[in-house]
Amino acid sequence: MKILLAISIFGLSGDNIAHARNTGFIEGKLHLDDSWDTIIYIAYIPTFEDMYTMSNDMIISSATIDSLGNFLLDIGFFPESTHLYRIHLSKKGAGSNSIIIGGKDENHLFLLANRESAITIESTLSHPPFHQVQFLNSAVNHKFQSITELVARVDSLASLSEAAKRQFLNKKLNEELLVIADTVAEPMVSLYAIYRSNYETDIEDRRDFYQSYRNKWADQHDTYFKAFFNKLPKQTKSNAYVYIILSSILALMLGFGIGRIKFHKKNIIKKLSVQEKRVFELLKKGATNQEISEEFNIGISTVKSHVSNILSKLNLKSRKDIIHME
């Protein structure tokens, strides 16, 4: 009895344990012919730039595919945070480290997962095995996959089109991907849309967009966003410092200039006599000769003489200029 119990305990595979939980697995059904090995691999992809890198040390787990195409990968050991992974198959004889891009034998699928993910995928095609895959219970991967399918669809159409139409389609695709990147709520899905666009060719042309994008996701500190932010032009910070310094210099120069003008004006006023300064103050208020005459009890002709001297000393043309002086 004890032996039977021990056997049943140790007989539980990691996969069965995974399925006994409600989370921490990737399962699915594929339609494969016998040109494929019956093993499915999963690789950890540290940045979006590593999507098409294949190395034996990237593969972190594998599972057997049964005769009906079913498989179950235990991912209960994955980190809590969401990362990018790639599942792939290999052709018989090719070994586990094999990546095939394009064509009917394209052998891989990208997805987002963490240790709590419960992902079920279903494929309807056998060539290639991961095209037209559906994620049955993962909303974030459904969105992720929709980007993959959009790119594949347009690429397929573009490759069969005339050059001008191909260029038009690719341009529209890029615009659509940037809209997705700008509007989708999930950060990894957003970044994936950027990477599937031709962002490297238009980083300079769309500098404002990418600067705004960087600001929007400034709180994302994972390897994916760090790698992407490192690719963006770094001059924005140094440009800001240059602008600050230049602005400061200009402000100083302006202040100095204004100060000089005020100083010059004060000096000119000093050239006036005591009586002329008194008359000047009334002229600034718009007083007439008659009003000045009555104020200081002096004759009109004396007032006119003072006004003439003031205009001459201040190098002004008329009483209006005195009124407008600061």
């Binding site: 098409y52 294949m54 190395s55 040390d57 480290n97 095939i100 891009i101 394009g102 069969l160 050059a163």
Partner: protein, 147 residues
């Protein structure tokens, strides 16, 4: 051991190339029917730890109605990066394969392949850039032109 490795890899690439020919309608250059002409261009390159970056050019002329590029590479050690640029300099694809060699691990390989079909291509030169990094292996580039 290394010589044995080269022979194995060469054989593997020849098998890959032969297998591909058997699946296609054409092999070599010839006339399929009175309205179409097919050409296949096959290039194989072997590299070792000292090999440097190399650009393979593929010229597309005005008479080409369709062309398909297929790249297959296998390495036994080191790293290999392959980039494909179209005649406008736009990157059409890339992959990188890497093989950390263990002492008794020479039978394990890393492989990468790329396949793209273009109808009505514009005239110009496509480039396949091969960047090995202490890599031991080979690459096979097949291009099919429909004239």
């Amino acid at each position: 051991m290394k010589r044995k490795l080269y022979y194995v890899l060469t054989l593997l690439l020849v098998v890959l190339a032969t297998d591909l020919s058997a699946q296609t309608k054409i092999s070599g250059t010839g006339t399929q029917d009175s309205s179409e002409e097919f050409f296949k261009l096959n290039r194989e390159i072997l590299f070792n730890e000292t090999s440097r970056q190399k650009d393979i050019t593929i010229d597309v002329d005005a008479s080409t109605r369709e062309f398909n590029i297929e790249i297959k590479s296998v390495i036994n050690a080191g790293k290999l990066k392959v980039e494909i640029f179209d005649n406008n300099g736009m990157k059409q694809g890339t992959f990188k394969i890497s093989k950390q060699t263990q002492a008794d691990d020479y039978d394990e390989t890393a492989s990468g392949s790329f396949n793209k079909l273009i109808a009505n291509p514009t005239i110009g030169t496509w480039i396949v850039r091969i960047s090995p990094e202490e890599a031991i292996g080979g690459i096979n580039i097949q291009t099919y032109f429909v004239k």
